[in-house]
Symmetry: D2
Subunit: 288 residues, 4 copies
């Protein structure tokens, strides 16, 4: 048996002061004959599917089939544990993934370290008009410097006040309420591979907040060499990665287009502007 | 306020002795101005999305957008409670949906009623060669009658033995071990709409066992008039309903086909037989 | 059928600007013959336990038995939905209860309202020496006024900066990172009664942060008239309410005390200071 | 680092043909300086509690404190994976513990192996009058032999019919419905330590069905040398192990007894027969 984490990158820095470390995984010890932890998925799946029937191809074929067919339970047999440090506004998004086991730094028990996130000067973003959750370019250097200075100053003021409160011997649980959302926190975060892939689909996506995406991408990078076959299948099939999902209306549009031998972009039968725009985007991806 | 269950069908018979009854739902009382319970989804979503921004269209547009974008949490704000009676082999499949709250008839506390499932004479199925989970036509009438009689006799024998054991005053918990998997059980089953839709996608699908599918379809029929806008969106968008999911390999195949102005069916770049077959099926649906 | 929420208090103010509103519950409509929603717990339990056996007393007896025996699943058949407004530092504690369904105001979609929590002048607490999570009295009026003014000013500065950022058209998702943890947020929060009681045990407890406890106590007050029999049983039996839990070491101490006819307080066999202190406290409750 | 599973018992036989095997655990590799996997609980807890405060004693003290105070999340950081083989009526009880990840042998995909549970001759139990879920002694040898023969014959008949159905090429999914509840199935079962302890409390208890208890006890035996400090704390504190829980009524009774210097057994203020009996039992344990 060998340690799957040997010779693997175990930590990635995120943002200015944050990180994702991989603390542990299951399986941790793998047979010398294996190259990755993917075998444990196939092993669990074979308990369900293999008995008394002929071998369903090799591990790769089986894992890809499980992924395509949404037979998700074997992926739950793999578990990852991370140590992460991130600003509270990022932690608040991650915590919504309720299947994870979490132990977070407690601001009641402990003094919060004097660490807060400052965006890089070249990533102070302008609000998008169209996309309420999105941005549309960055501020120019002057504006960016002003904004960054303001964030810096405001954060420093908040932390100074916090430390003053602690000096006065105010309860930690009350003193912390003046701390800003860019304050760094940290936690142990443990999750199975099925739920982690769901998390990665949503949080590596371009609609995810960029700061949070940085953590999702770090996790993806850390686990890719551990379960490479699974990640390859996920990249090929997931609707938010290499794949795509088509609605009934869009299928109709394609059929019309093809039957008319008219490969121009067809409209879909919807009076919803956003739904139409989504179709235009997908149609381009398909080569129409 | 009016009772959303008024004038609704509340019970559907399933198989020979089973049923699904809708016991309750949340919201149960809806404003006189509403036609369905869908409004409660939009109401919860607006708590997240609407504040300080312009109104995102009407409820229908909002619900369809949530469904397309996999913003699933507002659908969790709707809850359904069912009373169901089904054979144990069906219950064993349903119980795998872990987000449901369940109270099942206990064979330790109570005597199991003398009721077991017998398949209809015209639905004794022949094992499919290709699909391990599937069937390929039915037996002829003679074979079917013989099989059905055997099931009947075997079930009766098992129940007679069970009742003899109880008569001898054997513990119920041990006596029941001779009962067959077609024994009827019943339960209260409560689940939120998001998880219920996931259940319905999988269990209304043609790959689901037919006997279980009958329960899923009964549930779909019961809830459709209660949340019609949600069900319409789900039928339009879900990959196992009206929609479809395309893999990276399939998108490539479509692009090649279109760019070559060759509308013949293109191969996908996979040496996996099953993956190729799945593509053929999808290509047909798209009109290639 | 009658509406269980009729003539019930549906909203309680919490802290300075927060609230808990009960939006809905299941069951919402109850038979005219019932006084509360407790019957639905007994109804579900009887599906498990009652069949073919004599009636297990009345609903109250059954519910109390279920509670004493930790037969928790029937309590999951009751569901509550709340609309809550609370500071982010409170929301961060509540969100750890992962079984709830949540739709929270999004600071990416929406501008955060200019509302923040200020503690009352007579509740600015001094850090306890012994209890890292606790307090030990309040500051005098002068100190309290100074602290409160500082919190006020700091919060105002943060919100002014936030609004300036929005005015410059900075992305909402980035601008919000300067907001403090006492910023008010709101959400829809839906949870079943079993998990809610677990939440109430922990969060109505004196070890819970006082600000969070105020929300837990408001919820308890709102649901008590809806499921009075369940709440009575919970108050009588729960180890963090009227009940108590004794460890093996404490049981040994009691036995020694009684056998020696020596009713003085006996030591427990532990070299852990905290464990001994806990026993002293429990022994007093028991009348030793 | 060393393999925590080295030199550990990894498999325990259960019932006549069943087993529990420990497949994996997290952490699997532990530092040479550690004796058990308990350290990973303390490590996660220290992420929450330790920062900026003095060290809370050693790992054992910390773990015992966490257990006493129901700070359960650090125990979720430990994970176990088992391969189990058990009769279906046992599997149906275990599956109710919804936090486990499960991959079960599928009777749709695979032919069910011809293996069924037969109770040992000296454990054919007589139904208890008082305890609906319990037994009251065993049958005499003659009755036991007769019953056992009947179970054997009935199981054999069912399996013969099943095999005949498969020979006729009936779908596996339908053929299996005649199989009895004592048919052996198997699965991979993965669960975190917090939820596993909750499972063990309920299923090692004397109220659990004896056949299921055998599996719970096997699991307890397998994990005890892996997390010995945690198991010791659990044995000392859990209300269904060495500990006890007292209700408000029972506390009142103890106080009355002690204040009157009357150490006779006092009644509790309840007209519920079962509640009174429970008190009598607890009072004996306490030495009254």
């Amino acid at each position: 048996m060998k340690d799957i984490l040997d010779n693997k990158n175990k930590e990635i820095k995120c943002l200015d002061l944050g990180f994702v470390k991989i603390v542990d995984c299951m399986p941790r010890l793998i047979p010398y004959t294996e190259d990755s932890a993917d075998f444990a998925i196939a092993e669990a799946a074979r308990c369900s599917y293999q008995r008394g029937t002929k071998k369903i191809s090799n591990d790769r074929g089986l894992i890809r089939h499980l992924m395509r067919s949404c037979h998700t339970s074997p992926f739950e047999q793999i578990e990852f544990k991370f140590h992460m440090k991130m600003p509270i506004f990022v932690a608040r998004q991650l915590i919504r993934h309720r299947s994870a086991n979490v132990n977070e730094l407690s601001g009641r028990f402990s003094e919060m370290p004097d660490e807060y996130f400052l965006p890089p000067l070249d990533d102070i973003r302008i609000q998008s008009e169209k996309n309420k959750q999105g941005s549309d370019g960055n501020f120019d250097i002057n504006n960016s410097e002003n904004i960054l200075n303001s964030i810096h100053l405001s954060s420093e003021n908040s932390f100074n006040l916090y430390k003053e409160f602690l000096y006065l011997n105010m309860t930690r649980e009350q003193a912390r309420i003046v701390l800003p959302l860019n304050t760094y926190t940290e936690w142990y975060w443990k999750i199975d591979l099925h739920n982690l892939l769901h998390f990665l689909s949503l949080r590596c996506d371009e609609h995810s907040q960029k700061e949070t995406r940085e953590y999702a991408e770090a996790i993806l990078e850390l686990i890719s060499p551990i379960v490479p076959i699974t990640i390859e299948a996920w990249e090929d099939y997931d609707r938010l990665r290499g794949g795509i999902s088509l609605t009934k209306l869009e299928i109709e549009a394609i059929k019309n287009s093809l039957s008319g031998q008219n490969l121009q972009l067809f409209d879909i039968d919807s009076n919803n502007k956003r739904e139409k725009e989504e179709w235009v985007e997908k149609a381009k991806k398909l080569g129409f």
